[in-house]
Each structure stands twice: as structure tokens, then as C-alpha cells.
Symmetry: C2
Subunit: 322 residues, 2 copies
């Protein structure tokens, strides 16, 4: 099928095509680049939600319940779920996937799992591209569900309009420092399994941590919500808070500013990826494979890097802006 | 003082000069690049140890005791400690720093703290450069002590010859997945505070996780040790295990292979940093500041990235190696 007819038929009513387009864009080639470009021009209508947190905090359950709620409101939902397939975590989440597959039977719900293993730098780009496909296909909501460990995963939720960070009371003590990265990206915090011991302490420690962050009066102050996702408790409150945040972003024009920032970040990532591939390629004479042939007087990493950079840019005079 | 006289006087006997050289290389300028290059040619003699783990696992205490042990064996030790200065973690580690400053009074011990805040990409490069200075100054051991959260921190311990991952029994449950990144980089695991409840369970779960990882018969099998660093228990065993790992690396030639790999990674990082600065600089006409002036037909991130990449490389034909 040509790109054109794929795009014409790309709609949340046709999951087979949605799935096929995502598979195509997962490849790195000329055709996929063209397709991604064509898709990008059709994006901007879906609202993007990132759901992240440590393993076992109930991300999948919250995604599941939130999706059910949206479906009951006749909204369509496209989900991009990043599977942690490290040898250490591989099996653990199988149950969640099964549960998620059930909501996937709903006509207005599409789920795409992506493996986090072995793709490192490319993962976030591809997950965000997959979100674009779902956006272009007309889904009302795009949900990125990803474990909050590693830069790549954080990059993905940064492509969301609203990020929900899920935590559990057990995260307790070490929460404070360990999840600093998560603290900084959350717009909404859901303390899940909040019927467990330690919930009150966790809530107040979360709140005091969030207060440590400097907020101007025009900032969005992240809310801390209590949920028991497995009993469907607190999910409506999350949905309401997402709406509230969306309204805030729209009114302050931050929605478009954030999206522009995200686009710039995506551009930068693609350029850097190309540079990485280039300096490692055989065709690039001063790439790593030929380190041995570099002139003798060049010996330190910084000198070699300068040499490679000059060669890459064809000795063009560029001010690197120190 | 000229670079030449700085280098001449760079020795673990002269902490003032060591400190000054590290401060100089922390700046990004022509002089610091030259200095780094000159220093690099004098490196390769120190043995580099990375000590990492979640906050509160006792990294500083282990670093402290291990350093005392080495000092008692008349070995000199240079420490590069990465301070987590996120608003959420800032104050917590002050006690550790004070304790570490005490060992710093020892003639053969040098401690340099580096802030992790606000330097992101550049941090790992500078920490590794600081390690080079200590190596060139003749310290027998260079220890990188860093919290195991974030890519930047992991990059630093990857510059070590032997990485010790410290954990505590409380890490318990969520250890399994959450620290997958740490699991993969550890050569030695120290379960610290191993007199606390749950130690036995933690040890066996750690061991079974490590067994999940595929090992060929020629691989180094990471060892799990028990320590109570605050009571100086288990520190000698860590030192012995570091020696054993060092011997293994030397015999299998992995020591030099790893170091070559690290050097290549450093080169790549510097090139990418230069590219980032370039595409963001005013002088580079198709940088982000001029996104608005791009031709109309260019609209998607991947197209803009291609455009920027072509401009960067002066339209030079390079095969990006797909």
C-alpha cells in the first residue's frame, strides 16, 4: 500500500492500518521518514498523557481504569506502552499486559507495546512517533505508559501534555532522593495503593517535597491524589485533574509553548542520532574504526573529538558558542 | 602558572596544584582543552573504582572506609564525589561530606566534590577528566563516588575499571526492576547494613537476579558481599574482591579493551556536545533560534533535522549507515 493510501485510511476506526503504520515508522529508512513527516502535519488534536512511576506502582492498572473511564465517555484512546524487557524485569509485568489487552478489545481503544530493550537512544523517538500516528488517526487521548527509570523513558513522558507520576506508600524513605527525576516531571501525583500502611506519611512527605520546589504564582502546582486503582478508586479524580491541568495549559498558552519545545527537542535528538551514526560509519574516514590511523600528534579524546568534529563539518567555521 | 609548570608540579604531594588543575579543566575553553590533552597522555596508571547505589545505601561510608584501608597500606587515593544537589536531595548528604572531609586530611587522600546540578551532559565528562588529573598526579586509586540515579551518573561509573554497587536490605521488593540499570553495571555488589532485617532475603534475591543474566564461562561473575560499613565490617572483603576483579581484567586483557571502549565513548560524547552547541548557536544559520525562517515545505521534525544535519555537514555526502 502506498504512503498516500495508508494515510487516507489512517483512522481509529481501522486498527489494522494504525498498527501497520506504526510498524512502518519503527523502521529507519527513507520511506518511514517520509511517512513520519506526512503524519506529523496531521497531528496536534489528541491530548497526550504520560503515566510513569517505579515498577509495581500500578501504572498499568491506572492506565487501564482511566482508559475505561474515557471509553465510557465515548472518547477514543491510543496507548503506547513501553515494556521493560530487561532480563531482570522481563516476566514481572505479564499480568498487567494481559489485563491491558482486555481493554484493547474495545473499538475505541488501541494499544501498542514497545520493547525498551536494545533500542536505547531510538526508543523515545519511536514511541513519540507512534503517539503521532495515534494522534493523526484521530484518537482523542494518547497515553504513554512507561516505567520511570532511565533517561529514555523520561524523554517519552516529556512528550506528554500532562504527566501523571504514580507512587506507592512503600516507596517511603528513599523516595526523597531516588525519584528526584520523577518529582520534577510530574504534573499530577497519584499515591496508589493508598489503603496500605504508610500512606499518610507518604502523602505528607510528597507534599513537602513538592513545596521545596520553587513555584511562582503563575506556575501549576502539582496535586497529590490518593488512588486504589485496583478497586477503581480515585480514577475519576485523576481524570478531573488532567482536565484541570489541560485547561490551565490552554489558558496560559503553555500547551503550544510546551509542544514547540518538545518539537525542538525531537529535532535535536534526530540530528544527534545522525551524527552518532555518521561518526561510527565506515564511510566517514575519521570514525572510530580508524582511530589507529589518526595522525600521531593527536592523542587525547578531546583532540580526537575536535578532529572528528572538524571533519564532520568540513572544516566549516562554526562558533560553538562558548 | 603556565600549563607546563602546572603539569610539572602535578603530584599527589601537592594538593593545591591538583585542586587548581581540576578547577581549570572544569572550564570550557582553549586552555582547558590543551591541559586535558596534556594530562591524558600521563594517565593509565591509577586503578579506577566506581562506587554507586541508591541514596542512603552507604556509598560515602564505604568510600570512606575503603580509603582508610588503602591509606593504611600506604596507597594514595583520589576521590571524585558527585553531590546530588537537586532541590529534593540537597541537604541530606551533608553529614557524609563532613565525614569524608576528615579522611581528606590524610596526606595521601584527595577529595573533590562536583555538583550534579545544572551540568547534565557535561558532568560525566568533567568528572572523568577530574579522574584523569588524579591519575596523572600519581594517585594509586581513583574512586568515583556517585548516586546511581540518572544516565549522567551511570556514565561516570562506566569510566571505572571496577564498579561496586551498594544496596541495603530495605531496597527489598522493588529492587528487582528499579535498579536494573545498576544490576547491569556492577562488578561487585555490597549489601550494606546487612545486620538489618531482610538481609538474607535481599542477598538471595540479588543472587538470583544476577543469575538471570547470561554468563559465558569466560565472564566475570559479580559477587555479592555483606557489609556493615559504619562498623567497618566487610570492607577488607570488598578490597580483596576489587583486587580479584583487577587480576581477572588484567589476565583476560579486558582492562585495556574496556579502557579503549571508554575512550571511544568519551570522544563520541565530546563530538555530540559540540554538535549540540553548534546547532543551538546564533552563528549557525539553521539553528533553533531561526526555526521560523525555514523554507515552508519543511515542516516535520525529521525534515528539519535532515536540513540542519545537511547544513552542519556542508552537504557533504556521508552514508549514515542504515
Amino acid at each position: 500500500m502506498s504512503n498516500e493510501s495508508l494515510l487516507e485510511n489512517l483512522s481509529h476506526g481501522n486498527k489494522r492500518i494504525v498498527s501497520r503504520v506504526i510498524s512502518l515508522i519503527e523502521n529507519d529508512n527513507q520511506k518511514s521518514e517520509e511517512l513520519i513527516s506526512q503524519i506529523f502535519s496531521k497531528t496536534g488534536n489528541a491530548y497526550r498523557i504520560g503515566i510513569t512511576g517505579p515498577p509495581g506502582a500500578g501504572k498499568s492498572t491506572i492506565t487501564n481504569q482511566l482508559t475505561k473511564l474515557y471509553a465510557s465517555q465515548n472518547k477514543t484512546v491510543g496507548i503506547v506502552a513501553i515494556d521493560p524487557t530487561s532480563p531482570f524485569t522481563g516476566g514481572a509485568l505479564l499480568g498487567d499486559r494481559v489485563r491491558m489487552t482486555e481493554i484493547g478489545m474495545n473499538d475505541g481503544v488501541f494499544i501498542r507495546s514497545m520493547a525498551s530493550r536494545g533500542s536505547l537512544g531510538g526508543l523515545s523517538r519511536k514511541a513519540v512517533d507512534a503517539g503521532d500516528v495515534l494522534d493523526a488517526a484521530g484518537y482523542d487521548y494518547v497515553i504513554y505508559e512507561t516505567v520511570g527509570v532511565g533517561q529514555s523513558e523520561l524523554d517519552i513522558v516529556e512528550a506528554a501534555d500532562t504527566t501523571v507520576v504514580t507512587l506507592v506508600p512503600e516507596s517511603g524513605d528513599s523516595i526523597q532522593a531516588l525519584k528526584a527525576g520523577l518529582m520534577e516531571i510530574g504534573d499530577i501525583f497519584a499515591l496508589n495503593k493508598s489503603d496500605r500502611p504508610g500512606a499518610e506519611t507518604a502523602i505528607s512527605s510528597l507534599k513537602s517535597m513538592l513545596q521545596l520546589k520553587f513555584h511562582t504564582e503563575n506556575d501549576w502546582i502539582p496535586e497529590v491524589l490518593q488512588t486504589i486503582a485496583s478497586e477503581n478508586k480515585g480514577i475519576e479524580t485523576i481524570a478531573e485533574m488532567i482536565d484541570k491541568h489541560r485547561m490551565f495549559l490552554t489558558e496560559t498558552n503553555e500547551l503550544s509553548l510546551n509542544r514547540l519545545k518538545q518539537t525542538k527537542k525531537r529535532i535535536e535528538d534526530i540530528v544527534l542520532e545522525k551524527v552518532k551514526l555518521t561518526i561510527k560509519s565506515k564511510e566517514f574516514n575519521y570514525g572510530f574504526k580508524d582511530l589507529d590511523t589518526l595522525p600521531d600528534q593527536i592523542s587525547s579524546p578531546v583532540q580526537i573529538a575536535n578532529y572528528i568534529f572538524k571533519n564532520l563539518t568540513n572544516n566549516k567555521e562554526v562558533d560553538v558558542g562558548n
